[in-house]
């Protein structure tokens, strides 16, 4: 059975080496927690505070970050295929090398985020704020960029088949 951390205070906790597949972190405070390399497939982070949380290399397949705060968090090298980030705050977030095929980024704030070399094939960015996001060499093939705000750095990004 998946673990429940609903509304828990988990600041600075180190979860490395654990399997938290499907865990429920709704409303939890995970500021500066270390979840690097952790299996979080299908986990729920709705409304959670993940300020400067380390999720590098984690498996976030199908995870739900709706309305979560991920400012300054580190998702570099994570796999987030099909994950949901609707209305989340990803400003100044590290998404270097993140793979998020088909992920839902509608209405997210990616202001000044760092998605260099990220793989966002087929992701949905409708109504997202991409101002100053550094998307150098990101793969946006087939992504939906309709109604996005701001001017991202798209140097050498792959933009085949995008919708805008």
């Amino acid at each position: 059975m998946a673990e429940s951390f609903v509304n828990a205070d988990l600041r600075n906790r180190d979860f490395r080496g654990q399997d938290l597949c499907g865990a429920d972190f709704t409303g939890a405070n995970l500021a500066q927690a270390r979840l690097s390399g952790v299996n979080l497939a299908g986990a729920v982070f709705r409304g959670a505070n993940l300020y400067q949380c380390f999720l590098d290399g984690a498996d976030l397949t199908g995870a739900d970050f709706t309305e979560a705060n991920l400012e300054f968090s580190v998702l570099g090298g994570a796999t987030a295929d099909g994950a949901v980030f609707v209305s989340a705050n990803l400003s100044r977030c590290n998404l270097v090398g993140t793979r998020a095929h088909g992920a839902d980024f509608r209405d997210v704030n990616l202001y000044y985020a760092r998605p260099g070399n990220a793989d966002f094939q087929g992701a949905d960015f409708r109504m997202a704020n991409l101002d100053r996001a550094i998307m150098r060499r990101a793969n946006l093939t087939g992504a939906d960029l309709r109604e996005v705000e701001g001017k991202p750095n798209l140097e050498n990004a792959k933009l085949d088949g995008i919708r805008q």
Binding site: N12, R16, Q32, S36, Q52, F54, D56, G57, F72, S73, V74, G76, G77, R92, C93, N94, V96, G97, Y112, A113, R114, P115, G116, N117, I134, R136, R137, N156
Partner: protein, 187 residues
């Protein structure tokens, strides 16, 4: 781990406070602005800030150094002489050790963005100034400096363990493993 990350002034330069959890002795890395959030963090965590480390000479990293030094006291250790006009600063060279309570840091050469620059490496964390950012590197003014910067990062930072946290001069933190595998300037 006690780590404070502060995004200061309009160009969003970072400052960090890193402390020994046993002795509560603390280090401030760079000081582009003396914001009240710095002494507030020190007070909130009951720290004694004993050292300020300067990674490189650029104004956005040193302009509030005299204010911070006056407020916190302690020593200033710097990659360059007289940072922010502070002639009392101790000039470090690559390989020097910096003790913060029971934590021992080591300086490494990361010049390129500026003629002289040092990163400060602890066992779990690296303060890299403008040598290495999440998904990027600091700008350089000619191909020779760029080549030097890339070589220094490869040699002195990318040889650290993958889970070493990278605390850069601007933008979000990262890890050595992420930058070595995915940073567009290296792969």
């Amino acid at each position: 781990m006690i780590l404070g990350h502060f995004r200061l002034n309009p160009i969003e330069v970072n400052a960090f406070i890193y402390a020994c959890p046993e002795t509560r002795e603390a280090l401030l890395v760079d000081c582009g602005d003396f914001d009240p959030c710095l002494p507030e963090f020190v007070a909130q965590h009951e720290l004694k800030l004993t050292t300020i480390f300067v990674t490189h000479e650029h104004w956005d990293h040193v302009q509030a150094l005299p204010d911070a030094a006056r407020h916190f006291g302690g020593r200033v250790i710097s990659a360059i002489p007289a940072p922010g006009g502070m002639t009392s600063a101790t000039v470090a060279k690559p390989g020097d050790l910096v003790q913060i309570g029971k934590l021992t840091g080591r300086t490494v050469d990361t010049a390129g963005h500026t003629t002289v620059a040092l990163s400060l490496i602890f066992p779990e964390i690296a303060f890299t100034g403008d040598a290495l950012f999440a998904g990027s590197v600091g700008g350089t003014s000619n191909p020779e400096d760029y080549a030097r910067q890339i070589e220094n990062v490869r040699k002195n930072l990318f040889t650290l363990p993958d889970d070493t946290i990278v605390c850069p001069g601007h933008g979000p933190c990262s890890t050595i493993g992420v930058e070595r595998r995915f940073n567009p300037f290296f792969v």
